[in-house]
């Protein structure tokens, strides 16, 4: 185990195993910044790899017509795609790899056993990471801490005559690895599969034909820590409680037996030390995307497939672009006499440099959903100021051609007073006649806004929810006046909205700032503004700043 305690040694071991059995282990994520240390790590892998980048085109991946060469030579020239050759591929800047490419690479990993992937991940933040679709399929995550020891890798690469596939595996070995994965809260079954392959490779590396405790330990230490989602509890003290990730199932009494393997706890202890420190802090589910709050007028995306056409540009044809034939011919036209003379051909001579590709700009409209608390408590304090603030915001929304919608909640339910519209007058009128009084069904208000937000996303808008309330939620979602339940409901909805990627802004209009509302804003991932400290004019300034900056 001493070897496994040091992150650099672990990295060396992982690389050696990977070199031994690239087919079984599929590859690794190397999470390091570019530099001599990383060069040493990648250099330690004695496999030939081809380098790709996150913006690689389909033609380069799958192969296809080499248009430039075809036009030049006059007959069809195909180029071979990356996927037609097997072997390892190094993906640079893997943290910037989009879902598209990740899906294609994952597909290839599934389809071709000889295809392996080394993902060079330079992510600085925890949420900047290799797409889970890829990291899931690769055995290791190599992330050495600190400077490289001068003599790294200290152990010379050993040679072995044993093929990893030839190593025999007991039922109990498989069980041990599977149970351990379950106790660490690793739901995917690819993890124990990869751990088993790692154990095999480790045994082969040590010239053994069967698995030992050492192999299992090494496998668990290399494959599991970065996938773990729960810290397992001590099994000996809590014999009768199921592990935290297992739902309480009355029918699985027999499993407790399985879960206490003779040396399971020792392995758990060893792995615990390797778990990332931020495991418990990482409450934000991986893979959920936070939508940018939108600046100006919704997200402008410069694409090349749909939207408002932009002038076409010289460019290369690949799977993502469309040729603008007319512009291409126009670009080629002036050169025809010269080219004809030069090449002695009568047909149209089109060169790669003539090619123009279409570009489009797609702009999604921004929708501001005002969710206004019209309860008795809010009416008492600052409802009128809030109305004033909304009116000022409406003026800005009008200028930016944003859509607005108005939701009010009071009594026991929320009401959509105004579906998404661009009509300023109508919004103002509805707002002015907004009556106050009753309880504060904050959760109902959030639910209504979340619903409207998801509908508007489906219609291609970028919604931002602006919540104006005094935060004293006292009516639960089902209409019962239960303060605790009301608070819980509101929190659940806030999490849901965040997961949905809806941008938000929380404005506290209570007489003094409420801590619970600030916490709610945290859950929503939204800026929090306290109205008591600002008059309507300053509030508007703050809101525009928050919307613009987010």
């Amino acid at each position: 185990m001493s070897v496994l305690a040091d992150s650099w040694q672990r990295a060396a071991l992982a690389l050696r195993l990977l070199a031994l059995d690239p087919e079984g282990l599929r590859g690794a994520v190397i999470r390091m910044r570019s530099g001599p240390d990383r060069a040493a790590v990648t250099g330690a892998l004695p496999l030939k790899t081809q380098r790709v980048h996150p913006n690689i085109s389909d033609e380069q991946l799958y192969g296809g017509l080499d248009l430039s060469a075809t036009l030049k030579s006059g007959h069809i020239i195909d180029n071979k795609g990356l996927f037609s050759k097997s072997g390892m591929v190094t993906l640079a800047m893997a943290e910037r790899c989009g879902a598209d490419l990740a899906a294609k690479l994952a597909l290839q990993l599934d389809a071709d056993p000889d295809f392996g992937l080394i993902a060079l991940d330079e992510g600085a933040e925890p949420d900047e990471a290799t797409p889970p679709a890829l990291s899931e399929r690769l055995a290791f995550c190599i992330e050495p801490i600190g400077r490289m020891p001068p003599d790294w890798p200290s152990v010379p690469a050993g040679t072995t005559s044993i093929a990893p596939r030839a190593v025999t595996v007991n039922s109990s070995d498989i069980e041990a690895l599977t149970v351990l994965a379950a106790r660490l809260g690793i739901d995917s079954l690819r993890a124990p599969q990869l751990a088993l392959a790692t154990a095999r490779a480790h045994a082969a590396l040590n010239n053994r034909l069967h698995l030992t405790e050492d192999d299992l330990e090494a496998a668990a230490a290399l494959v599991y820590p970065h996938r773990a989602t729960t810290v397992p509890e001590q099994q000996d003290s809590t014999q009768d409680t199921p592990p935290p990730d297992q739902p309480d199932d009355p029918g699985t009494d027999g499993q407790d037996q399985d879960l206490t393997l003779p040396d399971g706890d020792m392995m758990i202890e060893a792995i615990k030390a390797l778990l990332p420190a931020d495991l418990l802090a990482g409450l934000v589910p991986v893979g959920t995307t936070r939508a940018a709050g939108g600046g100006g007028a919704g997200k402008a995306r410069k694409g090349n497939r749909r939207g408002r056409p932009l002038p076409s540009r010289p460019g290369r044809l690949h799977g993502q672009t469309r040729i603008d034939l007319v512009a291409t011919l126009r670009a080629a036209a002036p050169w025809q006499p010269m080219r004809r003379a030069a090449a002695a051909q009568t047909a149209l001579a089109i060169r790669p440099s003539d090619i123009r590709v279409k570009r489009y700009q797609d702009q999604s409209d921004r929708l501001l959903i005002f969710t206004v608390d019209a309860s008795g408590s809010a009416a008492m304090s600052r409802l009128n100021e809030a109305k004033g603030a909304v009116e000022l915001l409406l003026g800005q929304a009008y200028a930016a051609r944003d859509h607005v919608a108005l939701i009010a909640f009071r009594g026991t339910a929320a009401e959509l007073l105004l579906p998404p519209t661009r009509s300023l007058v109508q919004t103002k009128r509805r707002l002015a006649t907004l009556p106050g009084g009753g309880g504060t069904p904050l959760a109902a208000g959030l639910q209504q806004s979340a619903l409207l937000a998801s509908q508007s996303i489906a219609r291609g808008m970028t919604p931002t929810v602006i919540l104006l309330t005094d935060g004293r939620a006292n009516v639960a979602l089902d209409g019962t006046p239960d303060r605790a339940q009301a608070g819980n409901d509101a929190e659940r909805l806030a999490r849901m909205m965040r997961a949905q990627g809806t941008g938000a802004l929380v404005i506290d209009m209570g007489a003094r700032p409420t801590a619970s509302l600030k916490a709610l804003a945290g859950l929503l991932g939204a800026p929090y503004l306290a109205l008591p400290r600002a008059d309507a004019q300053r509030l508007t300034g703050a809101v525009s700043a928050a919307l613009g900056a987010a």
Partner: protein, 334 residues
């Protein structure tokens, strides 16, 4: 390409396997949506299905896999007109595929090099009479989704662009998979899938161990493993073929029709697609089980996958719509 993991060797996940078999019996059911976490065997099952399905007869050089030479589209330049037997196509639609690649487009290569106007068929042509598989369907761009829905419904792909006017048959079963944590699917699209199943990793240790054991056997002792399960696979294949023949003869009693309608009304599913799919899937199930007539037991078995995705969503109902369907089933069918 490696041999896919055999279908019958997939441990558990009965709902997903059943849904796929039913669409193989009656493609008219209209597609399967598989939602679940990573590493639950979604893509394994789809690849396995491709190997399981009975082969189809098709004209060798036909770009749309037509069964007879008369059915080949007029724009296709046929080479060999021999009727050959080929595996049921299971075509992957990768994320980020362009519209050109999906529907087909002007063959730029030929236009530029030879000055000919020709059509280059897309993925929809290749998927005709087979399956179109979209992994991470919830991340697919909206305009591609719209296009797929339109074609899936009409069974015909119409291309009117770049001076081309092309149409060809595109009848396929849409299989989508995805991870709901990464994005929702629009309700309009949900509704177009005939069946939807949710998969999760087995929570039982013994079952999990069995998954790893079989996978390991598949990788290390390939031949004996395949020998064992390919028999099982061919048994399922034979059963599918038998069920296809039996399907037209399955009778539907009047009171079952009534039950279907009552169920859908009680669940408040929009439109009539719920009833129709429920009925078709239940009939396919009855045929698969070798039964002559439809019974309530069939409805009960298939209703969760046929209806759960058609309900109006209640964002706070964490039990999921599956529980609501089960509740309503108990109420309506007793």
């Amino acid at each position: 390409m490696k041999t896919p993991f055999p279908f019958s060797a997939i441990v558990g996940q009965t709902a997903m396997k059943q849904a796929m078999i039913l669409t193989a019996i009656d493609p008219g059911i209209g597609g399967v949506l598989v939602f679940g976490d990573r590493g639950t065997g979604k893509s394994t099952a789809v690849r396995a299905l491709a190997a399981l399905l009975p082969p189809i007869k098709a004209v060798e050089s036909c770009p749309v896999n037509a069964e007879r030479v008369e059915d080949c589209p007029d724009w296709a330049e046929l080479g060999s007109k021999k009727i050959i037997s080929r595996p049921t196509p299971v075509i992957d639609l990768p994320l980020g595929a362009t519209e050109d690649r999906v529907v087909g487009a002007l063959d730029i290569e030929r236009a530029l090099t030879r000055g000919e106007k020709a059509f280059e068929p897309g993925l929809l042509a290749r998927a005709n009479r087979g399956y179109l598989y979209i992994d991470e369907v919830n991340l697919l761009e909206d305009h591609i989704v719209d296009l797929l829905l339109d074609v899936a419904q009409s069974g015909e792909n119409v291309v009117e662009r770049e001076g081309l006017s092309i149409r060809h048959a595109a009848r396929f079963v849409l299989v989508g998979s995805g991870n709901p944590e990464e994005g929702e699917l629009r309700p309009q699209l949900l509704d177009r899938f005939g069946l939807s199943v949710e998969v999760r990793s087995p929570q039982d240790i013994a079952e999990r161990v069995e998954v790893i054991r079989r996978r390991d056997a598949f990788e290390t002792s390939f031949d004996s493993f395949m020998a064992h399960y390919s028999n099982e696979d061919s048994r399922i294949r034979a059963q599918i073929l038998k069920a296809r023949r039996a399907l037209p003869k399955v009778t539907t009693p009047e009171d079952i029709l009534h039950d279907c309608a009552a169920l859908c009304i009680a669940l408040g599913s929009d439109g009539l697609r719920g009833e129709l799919t429920l009925l078709r899937a239940a009939r396919a199930l009855a045929a698969y089980q070798g039964k002559k007539a439809l019974t309530r037991a069939h409805l009960r078995e298939i209703a969760p996958s046929a209806l759960s995705h058609r309900l109006r969503r209640d964002p706070l109902d964490e039990a999921g719509s599956g529980a609501r369907v089960a509740r309503t089933l108990a109420e309506v069918l007793g």
